[in-house]
């Protein structure tokens, strides 16, 4: 599917197959075309090229009401002049096959389910953000649609409520078993809620896959940098004869990486912050360091309680700009200004082509060993 607005291409050649009852999250930075994609599925925009099918039926020329979808908007779009009851009921009015009593009963049932039955006769502006959010969900659920479309529904809530609604949304989705397309720019929401994530950037689909697959085996530098918080470290440099050289580092590649990288010379090294180990500087200074170890200076430490984000720079880096950041357990305390030894296990290293951004090598991961079900 392609969508253009005049000369601007909002979404280019996007192809997605979403199985029944999947929770798919479309994620990407602002203006990447994720909302446009959602609006095309909803029928609020029509694609310039390509086709949309829902349940095997061609949808391009169908008006939204005939697509059997429901949408939750970022600003909830609750009608201010109607009570909660009327708001939820509104979506049901055009549905055939209900008597008036059945409609009322259905509204009560949904309100009960969402825990908003006590506020059915209030106006939306008397409700808190979380309650309004629930009403908006109720309005979508009440029609029992084939597909749920959600456009950043949690972005107007405060952090605590957002976490709570995230769980609730997941439970609801499980309960109704409805295919859901969820748009967000928040990668935490994407990681925690989805069955699969589709990452978009500049109108192009970057990668689709399960959250952990995207995390551990990103197909390109954009996905690698977008998924994960704090984000992956990137060091630009050149690769020659199996050794990676950047402004301050030399990093020898082992045979596995060397085979994947081949003879590409301009590469970017990527390391997740949690894969960087910090050690106390040994007595002999930086002389006795192993192959994958470097001496670096701690510039800033951000304690999070459960973990610390340690910003590191090279001692000879005059600009004092941050080079990489590492995660340490909350109980490991490092002082700013001290020199430490940084070691990076070759097993955890990603290598990207500097020109195309494509991943040449991803970290080795035996799913049985490192990712295991509890």
């Amino acid at each position: 599917m392609t969508k253009r607005f005049g000369d601007t291409t909002a979404v280019e050649d996007l192809s997605l197959d979403i199985p029944d009852s999947e929770f798919l999250v479309l994620v990407g930075p602002s203006g990447c075309g994720k909302s446009t994609t959602l609006r095309c599925i909803a029928g609020l925009e029509s694609p310039t090229e390509g086709s949309i099918y829902i349940g095997g039926e061609h949808m391009n020329y169908r008006v939204p009401q005939n697509r059997d979808i429901a949408m939750v908007f970022q600003d909830y779009a609750l009608y201010p002049h109607m009570t909660v009851r009327e708001n939820i009921r509104f979506g049901l009015e055009e549905e055939s096959g209900y008597t008036s009593e059945e409609r009322d009963a259905r509204v009560e049932e949904i309100a009960d389910l969402l825990g908003i039955s006590s506020m059915l006769d209030r106006n939306p502006d008397e409700l808190s953000g979380g309650q309004q959010q629930r009403v908006a969900l109720g309005r979508a659920i009440v029609r029992d649609p084939e597909v749920f479309l959600m456009d950043e529904p949690l972005s107007n809530l405060d952090a605590e409520l957002r976490a709570q609604m995230r769980t609730e949304l997941q439970q609801l989705q499980n309960r109704f078993d409805v295919t859901t397309v969820y748009v967000t720019h928040n990668q935490t929401e994407a990681m925690t809620m989805s069955d699969r994530i589709a990452v978009l950037n500049k109108g192009k689909l970057q990668q689709v896959g399960e959250p952990l697959e995207l995390y551990h085996a990103p197909e390109n530098r954009f996905v690698a940098g977008f998924i994960g918080e704090p984000s992956m470290n990137f060091v630009e440099g050149r690769h020659r004869n199996g050794t990676f050289t950047s402004e301050f580092f030399e990093y020898p590649f082992d045979s596995g990486i060397r085979d994947d990288v081949g003879d590409t010379s301009d590469v970017v090294l990527g390391v997740r912050p949690e894969d960087i180990d910090l050690k106390r500087l040994p007595e002999g200074g930086s002389s006795g360091l192993a192959d994958h170890e470097f001496r670096m200076t701690v510039s800033v430490v951000e304690p999070h309680g459960d973990r610390n984000v340690v910003h590191l720079r090279h001692p000879e880096d005059a600009s004092e700009s941050e080079t990489i950041h590492a995660l340490t357990p909350g109980t490991t305390v490092v002082d700013a200004g001290t020199d430490v030894v940084v070691s990076v296990d070759p097993d955890t290293v990603h290598v990207f082509d500097a020109a195309t951004g494509e991943a040449l090598h991803n970290r080795r991961l035996e799913s049985e060993v490192e990712v295991h079900n509890v």
Binding site: A42, G43, L44, V63, P64, Q65, I69, A70, M71, F73, Q74, D75, Y76, A77, Y79, P80, H81, M82, F90, G91, E93, E94, E95, R139, R143
Partner: protein, 309 residues
């Protein structure tokens, strides 16, 4: 104890400081302006209740005293204007409702519904605002008199109706003219309001399966209630006070269907001179409906202005 100590340290000089020269002159200016604007009103109202002798002998601003007070002017003016009042309201109320309603519908269609050629139509509406009334007077009169004599067409219906007389049919072309000329400005006023509404209202309703007319009726119309207040007051005042169209389409002040603005200049004026008491009474009575409308819609008006800003 705290209060006694504060009494002791009470600073008289600070009082003087508070009433700085700047603020005093500000208030003096405000009071002067209030007087300047209210004096004519006061004069008019006082004159309306004075006998001719009192008008001639007392200061215009003074209230009428004892034998100088009379209600004769009021009753005379009411008598002279009563027919015109009915005509004016019979004309202005439907014309206002019509133009406001159509204006809101047009604004909805031009703002919240997408279709080809929208901009061209909007430009036509804008042109409609800037069209000078003087330029259309002659064509308008010819149209309603010769080409499409609507008044004589609907006359039989008016004869059959209670209260109304056959001559009231002459007001129908005026009503339609006012509706037509009121639509552009109402459309623009509503358009700016609708542009401020979140588009998700319409989109959510669309997904819920509501038709374009249902979205208007159930969602947009109720939401724009405050704006209706604003536009209604504005439009009613415009139409009620309008003179040029009324003068052109209704033959003159001596006809039974004449509206207030046509009658008013003649009330209290005769060959023997101007009767100020009667004139002022008539002017006061003529202004009453617009005042009542303002008071009745004041709350909506304030709300509408607030949401607009």
């Amino acid at each position: 104890m705290a209060s006694s100590s504060s009494d002791q340290t009470f600073d008289v000089a600070s009082l003087v400081e508070d009433y700085s020269l700047y603020r005093i002159s500000q208030y003096v200016l405000v009071v002067l302006f209030i007087g300047f604007f209210l004096a004519p009103l006061e004069t008019g109202l006082m004159t309306a209740f004075k006998t001719n002798r009192a008008v001639a002998e007392t200061i215009p601003l003074m209230p009428p005293l004892a034998e100088g007070f009379t209600l004769d002017n009021m009753t005379f003016a009411l008598d002279a204007l009563s027919g015109a009042f009915f005509n004016s309201l019979f004309m202005a109320i439907p014309a206002t409702i019509g133009s406001v309603l159509f204006g809101s519908m047009a604004a909805y269609g031009l703002t919240m519904v997408d279709w080809r050629g929208q901009l061209g139509v909007l430009v036509l509406f804008l042109v409609g605002i800037f069209l000078p009334y003087q330029a259309v007077l002659v064509p308008l009169a010819r149209f309603w008199n010769n080409i499409f004599p609507l008044a004589s067409m609907v006359e039989p219906i008016f004869v059959a109706l209670p209260i109304l007389q056959s001559y009231h049919a002459n007001l129908v072309p005026l009503i339609i003219t006012h509706i037509a000329y009121g639509i552009p400005i109402c459309t623009i006023l509503f358009r700016s309001y609708y542009q401020g509404l979140p588009t998700s209202y319409v989109e959510a309703a669309k997904i819920d399966g509501a038709s374009i007319t249902k979205i208007y009726r159930r969602i947009i119309l109720p939401i724009s209630k405050p704006m209706f207040g604003v536009v209604f007051i504005y439009q009613f005042t415009q139409i009620y006070n309008e003179f040029l169209f009324a003068f052109t389409l209704i033959t003159g002040s001596d006809t039974p269907e004449a509206v207030v603005t046509l009658i008013l200049p003649a009330v209290g004026a005769s060959t023997s001179g101007v009767d100020f008491g009667i004139r002022m009474s008539a002017a006061f009575l003529a202004a009453l409906p617009t005042l009542i409308i303002y008071v009745a819609f004041a709350e909506q008006f304030a709300k509408g202005l607030k949401t607009d800003a």
